[in-house]
C-alpha cells in the first residue's frame, strides 16, 4: 500500500482497515516504512517470498502508481529476483492491483476526461505480472474516492473484503 497523504485519505484508509482485519493478510504501508524513500530491499524481497499473492493498493496519480511504489518496483523487483535468468521468486504468485481514482467511472472512456478505459492505464502493471510469470487478477477499482458517500464506501469495502478472501482462501467458510 502506498499513499503519500494517507492521513487525508478516506478510501485507501477504508481499504487498509479491511486488509488489516482479514486473516492471512500482511499490510506494508510503504510511505510509513520508508518516508525517506530509502527502501530496505532485502526485507521487501523476503516479504514477497513469504506470500502467495501480492496486492498493490494505491491511489492513481497521473495514470500510474505514486512515486514510492514505483521506486519500490524499481528496487525490489530486480532482474535475477523477479524476472530474467534466475528470477523466479514471484512465479506462480497472484497479482491484484487495488487502486482508487478521483473521478467517476464515466471519466475513463473515449472522449471523456481521461480518454481511455481504466484498464488501459493498468496495462504496464499487467505486463509486469506477465513478465514475472505471475497470475494477473482482475483489478479492484474504487472510483470517485473523495466523493463517495459513507454507505457506498462501506459497500466497496465489503467488495474488497471478498476479493481478499478469494486470494487468501482463509475466510468465508
Amino acid at each position: 500500500m502506498a499513499h503519500p497523504a494517507f492521513e487525508r485519505s478516506r478510501a485507501n484508509r477504508a481499504l487498509v482497515r479491511v486488509a488489516l482485519g482479514s486473516p492471512g493478510v500482511a499490510v506494508r504501508d510503504l510511505y510509513e516504512l520508508y518516508p525517506d524513500f530509502v527502501i530496505d530491499v532485502r526485507a521487501e524481497q523476503a516479504a514477497l517470498n513469504d506470500h502467495a499473492a501480492i496486492v498493490l493498493q494505491y491511489p492513481i496519480y497521473w495514470y500510474a502508481t505514486p512515486a514510492l511504489m514505483k521506486e519500490w518496483l524499481d528496487l525490489v523487483w530486480l532482474h535475477g529476483f523477479a524476472y530474467g535468468r534466475g528470477g523466479e521468486a514471484l512465479k506462480g504468485k497472484r497479482l491484484l492491483v487495488a487502486c482508487t481514482t478521483g473521478g467517476g467511472p464515466e471519466a475513463y472512456a473515449p472522449k471523456a476526461m481521461h480518454g481511455f478505459p481504466i484498464e488501459v492505464f493498468l496495462k504496464p502493471m499487467e505486463q509486469t505480472a506477465v513478465l514475472c510469470g505471475m497470475k494477473w487478477e482482475k483489478p479492484f477499482i474504487l472510483h470517485g474516492a473523495g466523493v463517495k458517500s459513507p454507505e457506498a464506501l462501506a459497500q466497496a469495502s465489503e467488495r474488497f473484503r471478498k476479493r481478499l478472501c478469494a486470494l487468501t482462501e482463509k475466510c468465508g467458510r
Partner: protein
Amino acid sequence: MTLLVQTLVYLAAGVIAAPLAKMLKLGSVLGYLIAGVIIGPFALRLVGEQADVMKFAEFGVVILLFLIGLEVRPALLWSMRKAIFGLGLSQIVVTAGVLAGAGLLLGLSPRMALAAGLILAMSSTAIALQTLEERGLRQGAVGRASFGVLLMQDLAVIPLFALLPLLVPAGLAAHGVGGDGGGHGGESLIAAFPAWLQAMVSMAAIVAVVVFGRYIVQPGFRFIAKARLREIFTAAALLIVVAVAALMQAVGLSPALGAFLAGVVLAESEFRRELEADIEPFRGLLLGLFFITVGAGLNLGLVASQPLTLIGLVIGFVAVKFAVVAVLMLIARAPSRTTFAVATALAQGGEFAFVLITFTLGAGVIDPDLAAKLTAAIALSMALTPPMMTAYEKIADKVESKKPARAAPESDPFEAEPDVIIAGYGRFGQVASRLLEGSGFRTTVLESDVDQIEVLRRFGRPVHYGDATRLDLLRAAGAERARLLIVAIDDKEKSTELVETVSKAFPNLTIVARAFDRLHAYELLRAGADSVERETFEGALSLGVTALRRLGLRGRQAMRAAAAFRGHDQRMFDQLAPAWAGDFDENYILASREAARTMEQLLASDLAQLRPDADSWSTDSLDAQLREDARN
C-alpha cells in the same frame, strides 16, 4: 501552651483527619473542619484562643489568591469581566437585600439586618475553590463563574469597610473603629487621611505593585536564579506575597486582593511555573490550618443551647444564597448543571464574614448576641459545603442519567494544557520544539539557564524558568495531561535522572530523550525513555553526506550511502543493547567487537553496491543476459 506543642497538635490533627476524610469520601476540607472541632475548646480542649492562629491561617487565603492570580493572565481576566461584575455584583446586592429583608421580618433593627445581610452574602474563597478543586471542577465553567463571584466579593470587602461604620446610629459613631481587622483595614496607616487622599494612596499602591512586578521583581528573580539557591527562590517568592499583603494592609486594601494582583502581574513571567511549584505547599498547609481554626472556633456551647435557632439560621441563609445564585445564572442562560454546581459551591458563609463580624461588632453596628450567632452559623455552613457538593453531584448524576446522553458538558480550561513539555531549551531543544510548534502542537518549555532565557525572551519566545528534574514543577507545567516529554537538557546524569523519575511518576507520558552517546542512549532506554536520539549522530552523518558530494558523488548516491550506514548502525545499536549492563564489562566489549566486525563487512558490501561502477540500479546482470541471448 508552647508554640511547639501547638504546632504538634495542629499538624497531627491535619495529618490524621485529612486522609481519613478523603478515604471516607468526605473531602479534605470537611476533614480539617472536624479535626478543628475535635481539638477545639469545646471538645478535647487541646488548643485555646484561635485569634492568633486564625490571622496566621488567613494568610493561606492570601497565598491561594496569589496562585490563582498566577494562572490568570490579564487577557483572561478581561474575558471574565462578565462573571466578575455581572454575576458577582448582582449576587452581593440581591443576596444582601433578600437576607436583610428576612432579618427585618425576624425583628432585627434595619441597620443590624443590613449588616447581617452583607456579612452573610460573602462566600468562602478557600472552601469553595478547594471543594471544586477536589472534584476537578475548578478549571471549567463552574470554576470560572465561582471564581468571578468570589473575586467580586473580595473587591466588595473594601467599600464595605468604609460603609459599614456609617450604619452606626448618629452620636454613637466612634472614631478609629476597626479593632481586630484580621488583615482588613484595621491596621491601615492611612485611616486618619481624608477620603480622597486615601483613595489616591490606594491607587498609588496598586500601581506600585504592577510596576514592581514588571520591572523590579523580574530582574530580581533572574539574579536569584543565577545564584542557583533553591531555598532562596522560595524565600523570595514568599517575600513577594508577604510584601504585597503588608503593603495592601497598610493602605487599607484587602491583602488577598493585592496578592491576586501580584499574581496576575507575574502570570506572564518566565518564573511563573517555578513560583507556583514553590508556593503551592504553603497554600495547602495554611489553608488546612485555616479550616482547622474555623472548626476549632465553632462555638459548640451556643449550638447546644439554641440548636433550633441556629439550624434555622443556617438552612435559611444557605437556601437564600443558593437560590439567588441559581436564579441569577439561569436568567443569564447558563446550563443547569453548571448553575447548580456554582450555586452549591457559593452557598456557605465566608472567611471575610468573620472579619466583618469582628469589625462591625467593634464599630457598634451589631450586638454581641447576633455576632455570636452569625459566627456559629457561618462556621456550620462551611462544614456543610463538602457534603452538599457530594449530594449535588449525586442528584445531578441521577438527573443526567435519565436524560439522553449529551456531549461532555464543559472543557473550558483556565489555560490550554500543553501537548508537549520540553525540558531544556538550548541548541538542541530549540530545533525540536520549533518543529513541533510549527506542526501545530502546544508546547511548554522549561529551561534552567537564566541567560539563555533572557536571550530567548528578547526574541519573543516564552520560556519558563525551572529545573525540570523537579516533579512538582513538571506537574505545574501540566505533565499529568501532556502527551509527550522531550528531554533535551544539557547534562548527562540529570537527563537520566529526569527520565527515571518521570517514567515512574507519569507512566502515560511518552518520553523522547536526547542522548549524548551510545552508552548514554542505553542508559536512557533502561531508565524508561520511549525513544532516544544520539545528539551528534544525525549531524555527523549529514556532514558525511556533504563530504561525499564534495568528493564527486551524486546527491542521491551520497544520501543512500548515509541511509545504508544509518540502517547498519541502528541494527548494531539494537543488537548490543541487551549486552549493556551499566558499564564496560567483558560481555559488552566482546559482543561489541563481534558485532562491529560483521557490521563492517555488511556495510562495506552494501556501500560497494553504491559506488559509481556498481549502483543499486545496476543493469549488469540484465546486460549480460541480453548479450548472451544475442549471441545464440
